[in-house]
Amino acid sequence: MGSVSLRHITKHYGSVCALDQLCLDIPAGELVVLLGSSGCGKTTLLRSVAGLERPDQGQVLIDGQDVTALATRHRPIGMVFQSYALFPHMTVRQNIAFPLRARQRPAHRRASRVEELLELVHLGPQADRFPNQLSGGQQQRASLARALAASPQVLLLDEPLSALDALVRQQLREEIRRIQKTLQITTLFVTHDQAEAMAIADRVAVMRQGRIEQIATPLELYETPSTRFSASFVGNRNALELPLQDGRIRFGQVLDMAVPGLASRRAIVFFRPEDVEFSQNGVGHPAKIESKIFQGAHTRLHLVAEAEGLMGRFYADLPSRQAHSLEPGNTVKVSIHPSRARVFPADG
């Protein structure tokens, strides 16, 4: 399977810059998720790799070969589209065979390859059905099989799960990961769903305004976001804007930490709701419970605390069994360990 290298890819649509000098290297066999909000350029990037968009500048290399000027049909890629995009006049079998026919593979090899793929995506019993006779999940599996039919070096998936309901989405995302690992195929997966990105990726590239803000493993991204945008975009996170005094940030006993080298008068402190510690022994800062939301295994408490002349609102997740006795209006003692907080300049 081939590696993918994107070098200084730039793409404009009129005056709008969709991709801005973007660079990305994906080793062979890795699954990289492009994560970002609408309009950040993730689909444009995917389409540039596919050859469906021609970058204004930059190079696309697949397995070391420059394919920037190569037509889509000659690129060693397979692509899965958001809307399944199966050919409606062909059966599942014919859809999967189409890339093999287009590449003029001999009939006997076509047949055996189609059977292999039908087995891989568990669509054997539906092989002779038309797309309109399949569920959404089955259609997307057929679409995946079609993308893999010609044994491409790179698999491109453009929000492949966004049109599916939650349960099917979760099942299919596990299946995509299983297939990707089985085939060890280099994969670029576009999504705006953080949970999906975290669950499926070897590495997640967080995109913003045509650039990659951060690329890291899901755990790194979750635990140690390197930019303010990554911190605010990935996962549920509290953000408190606090003044910086003598190289320290203080918010009563909720948080007190040294922040060396931060050249700013105010800072944004990010911390996760599960990192809010509830004191058992009276140590900590008093915070009033404003509301309580049961979420199954966890209960979310919306808290308000006052310190240093400031009022801070944040939320905390607590195992539901522990939250059972807490009610809105109660006061609890809370604190945040400095190692769990990420600090960025407020004007950054």
Binding site: G51, R73, A85, P88, H89, F98, A102, F130, Q133
Partner: protein
């Protein structure tokens, strides 16, 4: 008898529908009866009935020739429109969406200008640049192709929109298909109903057209409409035969229109005419 108040609206609708059907069918029924009548003088119905007008019409070599010419012309025009317009609309959808307003504007022209004006325009233009084509069937076929363009354009354009040909084309490309394979094996099967519908409409327009035939070729290429005029106004006027021809033309056009409606039933559905293919639920 007291009428149920709740039934009144449905009774009103029924009466309205019946009135409309009678209004539409009465002229057709009258022509049909006239085509089978021996004489029709002062009564509500013909004095007597005969099939001799039909037998005579079918045995008339001039009428058979007229029918074949009209059929040939309509088929030629249909083929021309398919070959010229399908690639143009495909080009618009895939490569150059910016030409869409121009195509839409062009499609409006035949509705805005009377056919007589279009005919004299074509006559003037061809006389200036290509005098050799004046009076030829080729020029007539091209002209019919132009006036039938909107019917074909909208049918095929709607089919392309319903099939999302831009997406299908991209998918085909990522599958490694050449533009030709993509067009033939992916796009055309998915817009076949639109092409069929448009073709039927083009055929019907050409089959029935009078002004362009009269002005551009006249008696050199007599079609059904010219022959009908001759039967109506000539010294050897034969109204019964005219009724036969009118019925024949009506049946052809009505059948094509009904087929067109049948193929397009169910809005928003992508339907195909390929053998073994299914309609989208």
């Amino acid at each position: 008898m007291v009428l149920d108040r709740r039934r009144l609206p449905s009774l009103g609708r029924g009466l309205l529908l019946a009135g409309l059907v009678i209004y539409l069918l009465l002229p057709i029924a009258a022509v049909l009866l006239y085509a089978f009548s021996t004489r029709w003088t002062s009564h509500l119905l013909p004095d007597g009935y005969t099939a001799s007008h039909w037998l005579q019409a079918l045995a008339d070599p001039r009428l058979v020739a007229v029918m074949l010419r009209t059929l040939g012309l309509a088929l030629l025009v249909t083929l021309l429109d398919i070959l010229l317009i399908v690639p143009a609309i495909y080009w618009q959808w895939i490569y150059n969406p910016r030409i869409r307003p121009h195509l839409e504007l062009t499609a409006a022209i035949p509705f805005v200008l009377p056919y007589v004006v279009i005919a004299f325009g074509i006559l003037s233009l061809s006389g200036q640049f290509l005098p050799a084509v004046q009076g030829t069937v080729g020029l007539l076929a091209l002209s019919h192709g132009v006036v039938a363009f909107p019917f074909f354009y909208w049918a095929v354009d709607n089919a392309m929109a319903a099939a999302d040909v831009a997406l299908l084309n991209e998918v085909a490309k990522t599958c490694g298909a050449s533009p030709w394979r993509s067009l033939v094996q992916v796009i055309l099967p998915n817009i076949s109903v639109g092409i069929a519908t448009g073709s039927m409409l083009v055929f019907a327009v050409s089959f029935n057209e009078f002004a362009l035939v009269q002005i551009l070729v006249g008696a050199r290429y007599e079609t059904v409409s010219l022959y009908s005029l001759d039967l109506l106004t000539g010294t050897n006027a034969d109204f019964n035969k005219l009724a036969v021809i009118t019925m024949f033309t009506f049946v052809v056009v009505f059948t094509l229109s009904a087929l067109s409606v049948y193929l397009n039933r169910g809005q928003g559905q992508t339907r195909r005419l390929m053998i073994g293919s299914r309609s989208k639920a």
